[in-house]
């Protein structure tokens, strides 16, 4: 290769020449992000710090942080937060457990195993709306197959959320199965053989060797499931409409406010609350993932 004079005429890595093209290439994405992600964030703050007047033509009045403070400490918000939290509790551990169970059971040499693998990953093809409609056939108080099962009752405020969350658990099976199975398949043959030779029985081998090695994937899944729980809306709207008595209203449901009973400012405050929650989860994910030691490759 020629001498340093080349550095100025290099195409790749040439700061000045590249910049124009780079900005051009980035423009479309950045425009979309600015208009539909960052600008709305600003608007949320604006809405949260202003109350809308009842009358069309009267402008909104600035109320500072009072509305935000009042909204985020209201019972309505706290109940939304609680319901979202419960939804997470219902869907994440169960989802991970079932995913691991299914993946482990099909991670073996057996004739026809592929059929089972296809079956277990099939729910990845369902949307939230479809999963909700599917569960109408199971838990709807009038026509559901399990409508008389007490702990699945959509009429009972203490069990309704759980019943709804099962639709998410079922829907998530496909995803968790696929990811855990892929992770299991990256565990080298020889490592399992070495463990067998060392004397580990099958169960000990699973907990001491396999689980630590797939833990990054499990963590990733955990985060995905948590975020997905935070975004629970369709299943609520389709299965219970928020009832009974608001017992299934998650935070997002209250924000979306399909019945239009909450003022814009309040909903904007809730949205900011959701934003903080999402940021906390993302931050937790980042710190956990980056702490993960990269094992020798």
């Amino acid at each position: 290769m020629a001498a340093p004079a080349r550095a100025q005429t290099r195409r790749f890595g040439n700061k000045v020449k590249d910049a124009g093209l780079a900005y051009l290439f980035l423009l479309p994405a950045l425009i979309v992000f600015s208009v539909f992600s960052y600008y709305p964030l600003y608007r949320l703050f604006w809405y949260a710090t202003h109350t809308q007047s009842r009358f069309r033509n009267k402008p909104a009045s600035y109320v500072g942080l009072n509305q935000i403070k009042a909204s985020l400490t209201s019972n309505d918000f706290i109940s939304g937060l609680t319901h979202s939290g419960l939804y997470m509790l219902y869907t994440v551990p169960l989802g991970l457990l079932l995913g691991v169970m299914l993946a482990v059971s099909t991670h073996r040499r057996l004739k026809g195993i592929k059929v089972f693998q296809t079956i277990f990953s099939s729910t990845v093809a369902s949307s939230v709306a479809v999963a909700s409609v599917v569960f109408i056939t199971l838990v709807n108080p009038e026509i559901g197959y399990f409508k008389n099962v007490p702990w699945l009752s959509l009429r009972n405020p203490s069990t309704a959320l759980f019943a709804v969350s099962l639709s998410s658990v079922w829907q998530n099976l496909g995803l968790t199965f696929i990811v855990v199975l892929a992770a299991l398949q990256t565990v080298p043959d020889e490592l399992i053989e070495a463990a067998t030779l060392d004397g580990y029985g099958a169960i000990r081998r699973f907990w001491r060797i396999t689980v630590p090695l797939i833990s990054p994937a499990l963590l990733f899944l955990g985060i995905v499931l948590v975020v997905s729980a935070l975004q629970a809306f369709a299943q609520i709207e389709i299965l219970t409409g928020g009832g009974p008595g608001g017992a299934t209203e998650t935070l997002l449901f209250k924000i979306a406010d399909p019945r239009g009973i909450r003022p814009l400012g309040v909903r904007a405050s809730y949205s900011l609350g959701l934003f903080v929650l999402t940021a906390v989860v993302a931050g937790a994910q980042y710190s956990i993932m980056s702490k993960r030691v990269h094992y020798g490759d």
């Binding site: 290099r10 195409r11 790749f12 590249d18 093209l21 780079a22 900005y23 290439f25 980035l26 479309p28 994405a29 979309v32 992000f33 539909f36 960052y38 964030l41 608007r43 949320l44 482990v104 059971s105 991670h107 026809g112 592929k114 089972f116 693998q117 296809t118 079956i119 277990f120 990953s121 099939s122 990845v124 093809a125 369902s126 709306a129 479809v130 409609v133 599917v134 056939t137 026509i143 696929i178 990811v179 199975l181 990256t186 565990v187 080298p188 043959d189 020889e190 067998t196 994937a217 990733f220 899944l221 975004q231 369709a234 709207e237 389709i238 997002l252 979306a256 934003f275 999402t278 993302a282």
Partner: protein, 317 residues
Amino acid sequence: MATDPTVSAANKQVRLNQTADQIVDPLVPAPYDNDKAVQPPRSGFRNVVATTTTYLVLTALSVIVLFPIYMLLLRALSSPLKYISAGQPLYPVSIEWDVFNRAFGQASLGRSMGLSFVVTFVIVIAQLLTAVLAAYAFAFLEFPLKKLAFVLVIGTLLLPIEVTLIANVEIIRKLHLLNSVPGLTFPFLATAIGIFLIRQGFLGIPRDLRDASELDGYGHLRFLFKVAMPMSKAIIGSFIVIAFLGAWNQYVWPRFATDRGAWQTVQVALRTIGSENPGELNLGFAAAIVASLPLLALLIFFQRQIVRGLTAGAVKG
């Protein structure tokens, strides 16, 4: 590690002969092959018992997983009122074969499916374009404020549509884009995940190839279309499939970006199809089945891509 290629191919053949195929494929780097056994081999009778038990357990699990789908199918085909009065058995009651026709006719399922297709295609193509361009900039170009731009992209992960929902609805409303294709698609024309995925693919292109292209006199655009994209076909394919999945399944945004029945995408329409009349519930169930068909097709024909796309962030290799 050097192995004679013909022999390792022979080895592979030997292993393939003794094991079943797996659904998930080359995510695993060589030399570990895909056929992993969890237990060490056992002999004779114990083996037969173990195998039979495994099959039984797997079948039971499959039944549990498939039961909800079975129910859906059952209820879609059965006459709703007669099914209930028959005590909700596990077999179909008074099958109405025309339920799908009626779903398309009465409930305008065709219109909502069509709208979903249009919206999905627009989103996927737009996301692909914006992601490829942005990923190229991040992977191959140097420019001032590169770090800032990257942070801006990452930042959008904290601002999913659920968080910005009400603000975006107002924006769309003010732009008079409520009940329109632009209204349904604009917020999703670019996605950070797409940019990351494709950037990863681009970064995987060997340095030598870039240098060779440069020596050959390739400009950026030519390099992008003739080298970078073809070499990242796998990741791009996966992204397209995952993007399709995401766009097709959307509920929250289409629900609030439209307020007229004619502008409901199929997911939103599922909420109300068949719900007016208890005797027409099966229309809703049939619609749910139809709404899932494109994704089922994807799962069958593009399994590999789906798996690769889903596991890209989670699993090494």
